[in-house]
C-alpha cells in the first residue's frame, strides 16, 4: 500500500509517492496550471510513471492547497452567508465584522446577535433564544442564503448552544445547508474566532469545487482505492467531508507541510526549518514533529483571525533575490526578486540581472546554469553578497529559536542552494534528500489530531489532574478524527494563567495526534 502526497503551489505542483514504511519512492515537480486540476493530473501522471507503482496500490491520497487563501485574498467565488452570534446580553457592544473592509463584508447578507452563550466557568450566560434562531434561519431561507456561520460566547468552553443552533438551521434550511460553528474552528477570543467562522462559511463553494476536483483528478488517473484527505494548517489531515465543512483550516497548510516534510526527510524531530524559495525564505520551527504555532493573531485578506497557524518568519531572501552593489561599497540582497523568471533573467541562465543564485555559482557554492556567464562578477563582490546572505539566514534562524542553545537547522526548498553548509547557532546544518519536494512529503506523512481547550481553576482541580483530564479528552478527539488509538501521542500541552484575575485560573490547551487508520 502506498501514499500519494500532492502540494499545489503558486509555481509548481509537487507530487510524491511513499511506501508503507514511509520511504520516498518518487518525487516530481510539474508546473501549476490555471485551473489547478491539469497541474495535479500532470504531476500524478509523472510520479506514477517515475515510480512504476501500480495505481491500484495507492491507498491514501493527500492534498495540500492554498486555493482557499487565494479565494479570500482575491475575494473570488465567495458564497453569500448569514451570520448569527449567540451571546446577548454579552458582547453586543462589539458588532460583527466591525473592522472589515466593505468588499469582504459584502459576503454577509445579514448578521444578528441572539441571546445565549456561557461564562468562562461554563455557567449559562442566558438561555439560548431558539425562536430568534429559527426566525433568522427562516429569513435566510427566504433570501436564498445557503451557508450559515454561528459563533457563541465562550463556545470553546461549552458548544451546546452552537450545536443546537446548527440543528435548528438544518431543520429550517434543510440538511444540505452549509453550517459553520466557531467552536470547531478557532480558539479563545470571540472576534477572531467568529471572523474565521464567517470566512469559512463564505468558502463553502470553493471547498466543494476543490474537493470534487481533486477527487476527479485522482479518479481520472485510475487511483480507485485511495481514501482522500486534505492537509490542515496544523500539519494534520482532514477527510474530504470535513474539508467541505471547514475549508478555512487549509489556509496555512503550505508552510506547515514544508516544515513537517523537512523534519521527516532529515529524521529530526526538533529543529529550525529554513525553506528557501525564489523570492522569500520561510523560517519555521519543528517541535516533536509538529510546527510551533504562532501566538499572535494572523491576518488573512485583511481579516484578523486566531486559528491554528504555524509560527513562520518570512524574509525577503530567495534564489532569485536581486544583488546590488551601492556607491559606498555596501552590498544588499533582495528583498525584490526576479521570481519565477529566474530561468530567463538570472545571469547563469543567460539573463542580465545579478541574483543570489548567480553569486552562489560565482563563489563555487552552487552548481546550476552556465558558470562561465558569471565570471564577470568580481569575486570580492560575490563573497560580500554571500556573507550578507549568510547573515540574513543566521539572524532569521536566531530569531526563531526558543533558547540560546544551538539547534539543528534543516535546509529545504529549491533556493536553498544559495545558503552556506554551516550556519552560526546551528549544531548541525542538514540538507536532506528530496529537499525540493518537502511540501508534498509533509502532506503525505500527515497525522490526524484532536485539540482540547478549557479554563481550569487549579485551586479547585489540582494542575496534574486537570492536565491528565485534558490529555485524555484530546486523545479521544484524535481517535474520533480517525487516528489509530495505540499511536496517539500528546504533542502539545500549554497552560497559561489568566491575567488580572484573582485565584489560580489557567487556560489549558492540549493537542494529541496519531497515525491515520488505514
Amino acid at each position: 500500500m502506498y501514499k500519494l502526497g500532492i502540494d499545489v503551489g503558486g509555481t509548481n505542483t509537487d507530487a510524491v509517492i511513499i511506501d508503507e514504511n514511509y520511504n520516498v519512492v518518487a518525487s516530481v515537480k510539474n508546473p501549476t496550471s490555471g485551473d489547478v486540476y491539469e497541474g495535479i493530473v500532470g504531476a500524478v501522471q509523472k510520479v506514477l510513471n517515475e515510480s512504476g507503482v501500480d495505481r491500484k496500490q495507492i491507498g491514501q491520497a493527500m492534498l495540500g492547497t492554498t486555493q482557499c487563501t487565494n479565494a479570500i485574498v482575491e475575494r473570488k467565488n465567495l458564497a453569500k452567508i448569514g451570520f448569527m452570534r449567540i451571546g446577548a446580553p454579552a458582547s453586543c457592544g462589539i458588532l460583527p465584522m466591525v473592522d472589515w473592509s466593505d468588499d469582504i463584508k459584502a459576503v454577509c447578507e445579514k448578521a444578528v446577535i441572539i441571546r445565549g452563550g456561557f461564562e468562562f466557568d461554563g455557567r449559562e450566560l442566558a438561555p439560548l433564544d431558539e425562536d430568534a434562531c429559527r426566525d433568522f434561519c427562516q429569513e435566510m431561507k427566504e433570501k436564498g442564503v445557503r451557508s450559515i456561520a454561528i459563533s457563541g460566547v465562550f463556545s470553546t468552553i461549552r458548544n451546546d448552544n452552537e450545536l443546537r443552533a446548527a440543528e435548528i438551521a438544518r431543520e429550517v434550511l434543510g440538511d444540505d445547508v452549509h453550517v459553520s460553528i466557531s467552536s470547531e474552528i478557532g480558539s479563545m477570543g470571540l472576534v477572531e474566532r467568529e471572523n474565521a467562522t464567517i470566512l469559512n462559511a463564505a468558502l463553502c463553494q470553493v471547498a466543494e469545487k476543490f474537493t470534487d476536483g481533486f477527487a476527479k483528478s485522482i479518479a481520472h488517473e485510475g487511483i480507485e482505492n485511495a481514501k482522500i484527505y486534505l492537509s490542515q494548517n496544523d500539519g494534520t489531515l482532514m477527510t474530504m467531508e470535513y474539508a467541505r465543512r471547514y475549508p478555512i483550516l487549509t489556509v496555512a497548510c503550505g508552510p506547515t507541510n514544508s516544515i513537517r516534510g523537512a523534519s521527516y526527510l532529515s529524521k529530526v524531530a526538533n529543529a529550525i526549518v529554513v525553506d528557501v524559495g525564489g523570492t522569500t525564505t520561510d523560517v519555521g520551527v519543528i517541535q516533536n514533529e509538529f510546527p510551533r504555532e504562532s501566538s499572535v493573531a494572523v491576518t488573512i485578506g485583511g481579516v484578523r483571525t486566531n486559528f491554528r497557524m504555524p509560527d513562520v518568519m518570512s524574509i525577503g531572501l530567495g534564489g532569485g533575490s536581486i544583488v546590488r552593489e551601492h556607491e559606498d561599497g555596501s552590498v544588499t540582497v533582495g528583498p525584490d526578486s526576479v521570481g519565477y523568471e529566474i530561468t530567463s533573467k538570472a545571469m547563469v541562465f543567460g539573463g542580465d540581472v545579478m541574483t543570489a543564485t548567480d553569486v552562489a555559482v560565482r563563489t563555487g557554492k552552487a552548481k546550476v546554469g552556465d558558470p562561465s556567464l558569471v565570471e564577470s562578477i568580481p569575486l570580492e563582490l560575490a563573497e560580500k553578497a554571500m556573507s550578507v546572505i549568510r547573515t540574513m539566514a543566521e539572524d532569521a534562524v536566531d530569531a526563531m529559536k526558543v533558547s540560546s542553545d544551538d539547534s539543528d537547522v534543516i535546509l529545504v526548498g529549491g533556493g536553498s542552494i544559495i545558503l552556506p553548509d554551516e550556519l552560526a547557532g546551528a549544531s548541525r546544518t542538514i540538507k536532506p534528500e528530496h529537499f525540493g519536494c518537502a511540501n508534498a512529503i509533509g502532506s503525505a506523512i500527515s497525522k490526524v489530531s484532536g485539540t482540547y481547550e478549557t479554563l481550569v481553576d487549579y485551586d479547585e482541580v489540582p494542575r496534574d489532574d486537570a492536565l491528565e483530564k485534558a490529555k485524555q479528552a484530546a486523545a479521544d478527539m484524535a481517535a474520533e478524527a480517525g487516528a489509530v488509538r495505540e499511536t496517539v501521542e500528546i504533542i502539545d500541552v500549554e497552560d497559561v494563567p489568566l491575567q488580572y484575575y484573582p485565584g489560580n485560573t489557567n487556560r489549558v490547551k492540549v493537542k494529541a495526534a496519531g497515525e491515520l487508520r488505514a
Binding site: 453586543c92 457592544g93 466557568d121 472576534v191 489568566l498 491575567q499 488580572y500 485565584g503
Partner: protein, 364 residues
C-alpha cells in the same frame, strides 16, 4: 473642544499600547467597541480640562476584569446607561462628562464608546497617564478623592453601587463582584468635580496618546532621520537598551503575573545585558546590573523594526526589542505618589530616581 472620529481612535489605540508599559491589555478589542459606537452614534466631543466648569460632575468609566474574559464577552452595550443612571440618582446631580481612568491599554477605548453611546463629552484627562494594576493607583487618591461610590454593572443587567472607607477597599469589593459576574464588569468610580479633575488629573493624556500613535504610524515615512531616531524624538523616549530577548521567566501570585525578561545587547549594546522585571506592567529596567528606570516612569519594550509595543504576555525568545523609558506624570514623583506606585510598593528594594537621571539621557 474637538471631535474624535475613527482615525483618531486608531491612533489613540496605538498610543495607548505604548502607555500600557507592557500591561493594560491589548487595546484592539476596545477599539472595535469604540469604532462600533462611533459608526452608530457619531464622533465624540473631546473637552480640554479647562473647558469644564469647576462644579461639573465628571464620572470616569472603565472595564475591570481579565482581558481573556473580555476577549469573549466584550461589553453588552447596556452597561453605560445602567451605570450612569445609577450614579446620577445616587449623586442627585446631572453628569456633565465622562473620562478615562486609565489611558494605557484596553481602558483607553471604553470611555470613548461610553461617551458616544450616552451622548456625553469626554474630558482629555485620566488618573494614571499609563496603566497600573490596581484601582487605588490613581493620581486622585493623592488628592484625597474617594473612589467610592463605586458603580458596577454587568452585561446581564446586574448593577451595584457601594461606599467604602478606603480606595483599597473599593479594589477588594470590586474584585469580588468581578468574580461573581463572570470575570468582567463595567465600572464608574472617582466621581469628581471639574475642579478636582483639573487639580489632580493627568491632563491632555488622550491627545498625548493620539500623538504617540500618529508618530508610531508615521515613523517609517520620516526621511531625514532613522526610524528609531524619529520614534524616540516623537515619543520623547529615553533609549535605555537595544537587544534580543534571551529568557522569559513567569510566575503567578494572586491575580497578577510576575516575571523577568532577559535581553542580550545587539548593535551598539552588543556584549551588554539587561533585564526588565514586570508585574503585568514593566516595573524596573536594569542594564549591566545597574537600575536605569523604575515605576512609576513608563518602561516599554518595542519591536526594533515596527516600533509596536510588546506587552508582557507576548514576550518571547528571539524578539528584538528597544527598551524605552518615558517620564511619568509629575504628581507620581511626589512622596504620596511614590507611596502608591513607587518601586517599594511593588517590592523593589530601591528608592525612586527619575528615569532621565537614572538613564543618564539614555544609551546613545
Amino acid at each position: 473642544m474637538r471631535k474624535l472620529g475613527i482615525q483618531e481612535i486608531q491612533d489613540i489605540a496605538r498610543g495607548a499600547a505604548l502607555l500600557g508599559a507592557g500591561g493594560g491589555g491589548d487595546p484592539y478589542l476596545g477599539k472595535l467597541v469604540a469604532i462600533g459606537a462611533i459608526n452608530e452614534c457619531g464622533p465624540v466631543t473631546l473637552l480640554d480640562p479647562e473647558e469644564v466648569p469647576d462644579d461639573a460632575l465628571i464620572v470616569p468609566f472603565a472595564m475591570m476584569g481579565a482581558p481573556t474574559v473580555l476577549s469573549e464577552k466584550g461589553i453588552g452595550g447596556e452597561e453605560y446607561k445602567a451605570l450612569f443612571d445609577l450614579v446620577e440618582n445616587h449623586e442627585g446631580k446631572k453628569i456633565f462628562a465622562t473620562m478615562p481612568m486609565e489611558a494605557g491599554g484596553l481602558n483607553s477605548m471604553f470611555p470613548i464608546a461610553a461617551a458616544a453611546r450616552l451622548g456625553l463629552p469626554m474630558v482629555d484627562c485620566d488618573g494614571m497617564g499609563r496603566a497600573f494594576p490596581e484601582l487605588q493607583m490613581v493620581t486622585f487618591t493623592i488628592g484625597g478623592i474617594k473612589s467610592s461610590p463605586v458603580g458596577l454593572a454587568d452585561e446581564k443587567g446586574n448593577t451595584v453601587i457601594f461606599d467604602t472607607i478606603t480606595n483599597k477597599w473599593s479594589e477588594e469589593l470590586a474584585r469580588s463582584v468581578v468574580m461573581s459576574c463572570g470575570g468582567s464588569v463595567a465600572v464608574t468610580l472617582y466621581n469628581m468635580t471639574g475642579k478636582q479633575m483639573k487639580e489632580y488629573g493627568v491632563k491632555g493624556i488622550v491627545t498625548r496618546s493620539e500623538k504617540l500613535g500618529a508618530a508610531m504610524r508615521n515613523v517609517k515615512n520620516v526621511t531625514d532621520k532613522t526610524p528609531e531616531e524619529a520614534f524616540l524624538e516623537f515619543t520623547e523616549g529615553i533609549r535605555l537598551f537595544k537587544g534580543k530577548i534571551t529568557d522569559v521567566r513567569r510566575e503567578t501570585r494572586g491575580a497578577f503575573n510576575f516575571g523577568k525578561v532577559v535581553v542580550d545587547g545587539i548593535d551598539d549594546c552588543k556584549g551588554r545585558s539587561a533585564y526588565v522585571e514586570f508585574q503585568n506592567e514593566n516595573l524596573a529596567a536594569v542594564v549591566d546590573g545597574e537600575i536605569v528606570a523604575t515605576t512609576p516612569d513608563l518602561i516599554s519594550l518595542v519591536d526594533t523594526e515596527t516600533f509596536t509595543p510588546v506587552p508582557t504576555d507576548a514576550l518571547k525568545y528571539g524578539k528584538r526589542v528597544l527598551i524605552v523609558g518615558l517620564k511619568c506624570y509629575d504628581l507620581w514623583r511626589s512622596k504620596q505618589g511614590l507611596d502608591l506606585v513607587g518601586p517599594r510598593y511593588f517590592g523593589l528594594d530601591t528608592d525612586y530616581v527619575p528615569v532621565e537621571v537614572r538613564g543618564k539621557g539614555g544609551i546613545r
